[in-house]
Point group: C2
Chain length 209, copies 2
Amino acid sequence: MTASAAKPGAVDKRRLILDAAVSVFARRGFHHCRVSDVADEAGVAYGLVYHYFRSKEEILNTLFLERWQIMLDAIGEIDARDLPAREKLYGVASFIVDSYRHDPDLMKVIIVEVTRAANSFGAIHIDKIREAYIGIAGIVETARAEGSFKSGIPADFAAMCFYGAIEQLLTGWIFEVLPKTDEEYERAKGLVVEAICGGLESAHNGTSA
Amino acid sequence: MTASAAKPGAVDKRRLILDAAVSVFARRGFHHCRVSDVADEAGVAYGLVYHYFRSKEEILNTLFLERWQIMLDAIGEIDARDLPAREKLYGVASFIVDSYRHDPDLMKVIIVEVTRAANSFGAIHIDKIREAYIGIAGIVETARAEGSFKSGIPADFAAMCFYGAIEQLLTGWIFEVLPKTDEEYERAKGLVVEAICGGLESAHNGTSA
DNA sequence: CTCCAGATTGACTGGTCAGTCAATGTGAGG
DNA sequence: CCTCACATTGACTGACCAGTCAATCTGGAG
């Protein structure tokens, strides 16, 4: 068998290494951990890491690409539904928040080590990262065309604000400055959509274009 | 003379090193550059860096604290003015965007290497970073108390969304996915406030708490 | 001019760690 | 039982680089 097909009962060591890497990268950071930490965490020999991955960096690239593609697919799928823009955006916020809830370490690694790492992994994956912005912008653009969203705010700009707000929430959880209960996660989904779509103001004086 | 008081005509080598560090950290990233790169960029000997700074990390800490304190002071000063919340938030957005415009390298270093670096500098400076969130939340809180902002969205939550949206814009500029003209910077200030305060929707159906 | 404190220099060291590799294990097919 | 391909092991190496330090410079005070 090759690395991809794990027999039932046999442990997929490649997967074991990836999972261990998530845990170690999240706990110590990509730059502050050693490959041997990952191997130890996975319970495999040092050299096996290099049997499955060309380099330490390739491990992180793999983790990012795997997860990011799932998110891109989710955004595409949400956009394809026949729903008002606000509900589509709720779907996107929901997916991202649930991703964090389901695997906070992985999302932490992706945000901390890739999404904002302009000089290393971020630069390598910028096109993939951008696809997410474009997907969200597409949702906003459709709403603008329909007239349900203002035309004064460009869609790509709105997408950046929306994505930025969500990523900041995750950052708040990562840094432990926001509470992390199931209830909070659910509340956050609604609040972020309300904040961005409905705005913060209660009374609506004329809005400028 | 000590390091602090530079005589006119004499170059402040400490400052020279800090400025060189901004340039080098921005170009190559903190982890991917050597102390000798900083020394070379500053045009001083390797050892002089260690005359003024205890370690490579202390250089980054110094850069961050210097600049962040200026921002905290600015937020405090803006909050003290007698203005509607929306204009206060415009003031904050304006200050941050202008900070980037004035010294993009420094802001890039702060965002990329500190603000999101949960396992290294971010953890060290989390209290300072938090002060910014709290300052913004204070502005929102006042507006909520006055009734000009909705009460359904908690102030600390709104602050995170607002700050996140701005930081995402800077990230867009850093990654070169958003245009970087003076006109765009000015536009961005207004748009981010409009997006967060006024929301994206054109018609206002009932808003849920 | 002499002295001294602080500024400046850059060669060197000690530790760290990513990546290599030769040896060994393992299990499926013949 | 044998063979072979692939999995697994972990000691080792070569490069890299943060931080040290002894030597040298500089400029003001006496």
